[in-house]
């Protein structure tokens, strides 16, 4: 029984290798050029690469500033009621 299963496994492996061998390939020079082109075309939109104008990255705005601002707003509102 084991020789039968190893036979079918080998057959499957050979078929798989034939499939992989038949893949159409391009030269690395061309593939590399296209990868590079994609990087350069999209570089300006990549915040982690080029950074963004101060204030427009929500994570770069420190949380504490938001809290202080919120407290100030509350105190201002309280002042106008009294």
């Amino acid at each position: 029984m084991t020789s039968n299963s190893s036979l079918s496994n080998m057959r499957r492996l050979v078929e798989q290798l034939k499939l992989e061998a038949s893949v159409e390939r391009i030269k690395i020079s061309q593939a590399a050029a296209e990868l590079q082109q994609y990087c350069l075309q999209n570089a300006s939109k990549d915040a982690l690469l080029v950074g963004v104008p101060t204030g427009s990255n929500p994570f770069r705005e420190p949380r504490s500033c938001k809290e202080i601002k919120r407290i100030f707003d509350l105190l201002q509102r309280k002042k106008t009621w009294t």
Binding site: L7, S29, A32, A47, L49
Partner: protein
Amino acid sequence: MRSPLSPEMATQEVPLNETLAHLKTESETLKLKLEEERAKLHDVELHQVAEKVEGLGQFVMKTRRTLKGHGNKVLCMDWCKDKRRIVSSSQDGKVIVWDAFTTNKEHAVTMPCTWVMACAYAPSGCAVACGGLDNKCSVYPLSLDKNENLAAKKKSVAMHTNYLSACSFTNSDMQILTSSGDGTCALWDVESGQLLQSFHGHAADVLCLDLAPSETGNTFVSGGCDKKANVWDMRSGQCIQSFETHESDINSVRYYPSGDAFASGSDDATCRLYDLRADREVAIYSKESIIFGVSSVDFSLSGRLLFGGYNDYTINVWDVLKGTRVSILFGHENRVSTLRVSPDGTAFCTGSWDHTLRIWA
């Protein structure tokens, strides 16, 4: 000495052995041919092509938020499409949904198992999927009512015969792709729990998977303990390309944003880039001083930067084109186990065995 086999049995045995040996020779020949074909197109190195590209300057990236709340090792995390929510899972069985802007916890679920190794956010933002040592992948719809018991609405979708290592929704809430320690990947219908397609080919545990960007079509890549990275056709279940250049387990795979390549991170302490149209490895990101395994990798939005989370507690940032390291980030107090860039590329999140998650920008 006469053979104990009867004449009929003798004639049956011989062809079987011949066929096996024959197939073995054929497979060896095909493997050699594959290497030859790939080598023919190796006319230049990626970093040579990139020589004329401007080098990258100094990077200022630091921890902007620390998410504390897990009681044990964080194993996995995923971003919501809204670019602010995050789901994370840990060894103690907890799955937490966070608002990364405010660091508030929005939902928490306790799984019936420990080591929740995989979690994923649904594209709609209305559900999360998770699983681990329970061998399953379950989906929890997220309720707007904070008091509602999420565990009650749990839906079991995937069933494997070993641990769940990774899961990902496809481009809708309706299908989930899973990978498992049982050596297979599988595609499931969420509503019915039906197995739609299974993917066989890895010779050992599958540890990671990533879906191709939707524009590129229906493929995904998986990496495993057999040191192989396989690219699969989701409709046919066929493995269409296979890469075996790593020297140890592949812990993480991630597509390049254009879909034409993918990166991998391995216990062999290297990250590698494989181009799908050249059908070979085109870059290795390594240094002699880096000896600890890579647990997770992801690209910045343009694909120029590759972030790697390492078992030596650091994050190394690589220039994908030039092959050099541009930055090393410190902060975690134990292994970095998971790393994902946010959907709009403004930040990336890491999870660690130090029980915390950090947002970097």
